[in-house]
Amino acid sequence: MKNLKISLSALMLISSGFAALPCAAEPFREYATDATSTPPSANKDHTNTYQYWKDRANLPTMNGTDEWKLNWKFRDRPGNDQLHGGDEAYDRGEMLYKKLNADGNFSACIGSKDGNLKGVRLMYPSYSEAAKKVVGMEAVIEQCAAKQNMKLMNGSYDNSAVSIYVASFSNSMPMKIDVSQGPLKESFERGKTAFNLKAGRNNLACASCHVNMVGNNLRGQTPTTMYGDATHWPTWRGKDELQSLHVRLTECDRNAGVQPLKIGSMTYTDIEVYLSALSNGYPMLVPSMRD
């Protein structure tokens, strides 16, 4: 009996020893920048280009090598008045929205109090009591469309089309998400960490290019600041694809050699919160186009 007791406790010790190893050590991590250094608002200090692009209606003229300083805002209206695939998506979004909202429940579901869509886009990303997590507007559109028996997968063309239509009612209103407390603050902090985390086969963070290399050439491309970038999504890309921010993040990750994550995943939503907070004060504008 004594022998059995000893062998039993020895077994416990051995098994706990094995199990304790992986949890004792924190995983080794590298970050591109001091993750605490970026202030959460559209900020003229980062890259010193805000002065050029803050007013979409009065962008200065820049030549080819300086064009990046406009942060691609010259693709937006009113400076660029050409019709593009984003307008086509807007039309489809309007048609789908009217179908979805035939009984008025869809607009209520996405957060409109009286059926008016003005300002609804500015409520997102937000914490959903129902889902017990932070959600972007496209995730909510998917959920609310399902209640109307329409499948609008987060990231799909039709989901983004409805997102553009809804967001258009908030055009020229500044982004204003509050990340000072609660689940959105936690999400913002996680998003900042994910943005700065070196990952993938090239050990690159988002910040490796969009903070450390801003204004330098990556062959034919010039990375720009991530400030003021969240207010024109979903956008129509020149390769003829309508992309939500999360779809774009899967492309960013792949281009950098990082295994992409699911659309609507917590980490991509966290990055969306981070980028949205970095656009606070900058006005919405959809439909938009980017290269």
Partner: protein, 199 residues
Amino acid sequence: MRGLLVGLAATVVLQACANQAQAPAKVAEVAPVEVKPAAVWPAGLPQDALYNPEGKNKTTWPQPVKNSGELKYNEHARDLSKWITRSSDDMRSSIMPMKVSLNGAPLNGDAARGKEIAMNTGRGNCWACHALPGDAQPGSSGPSLIGFKSRGYSDDMVYQFVYDRRAVNPNTVMPPFGAIGNLNDQEVRDVVAFLQSLN
């Protein structure tokens, strides 16, 4: 008796660790790929990765289809799952900075093969950041490599730079090509030979 107590204490610790490992609660999402046998999902790869264990290259990406409420999933050019992702659920470690040396042995690299790796976006992609001879749109994010030979670095040093620059400069943006398994050892040697040939 004392042994038993220690054993019990260890079990408590074990329990705490198990809880810690499972910490992030999973919320059900619309899964683009059905994960059937748990065994083929790579150990440590978080569940929110876009990964199809039954696909050819495993790593997948979503493509919106015009006038459709569904996404089309395509295969990426390579399996990216062995490197860490951005997911908060990813508890795998990054690769630590690695000191390497040729230890006096010859480099044994092929400059022509090295050029094929360095000036190829799908392989080493050195030219994304560095100017190299003959590139019409040179990168400017890293120092120019034109005339690199004249800078007089030893093969041993350049081997370290390409294998893992972090061992020399902890704040570098440059990928640790050898240490992270992006290029194999021979490919690193070939790139070094190419750089040392740049007059």
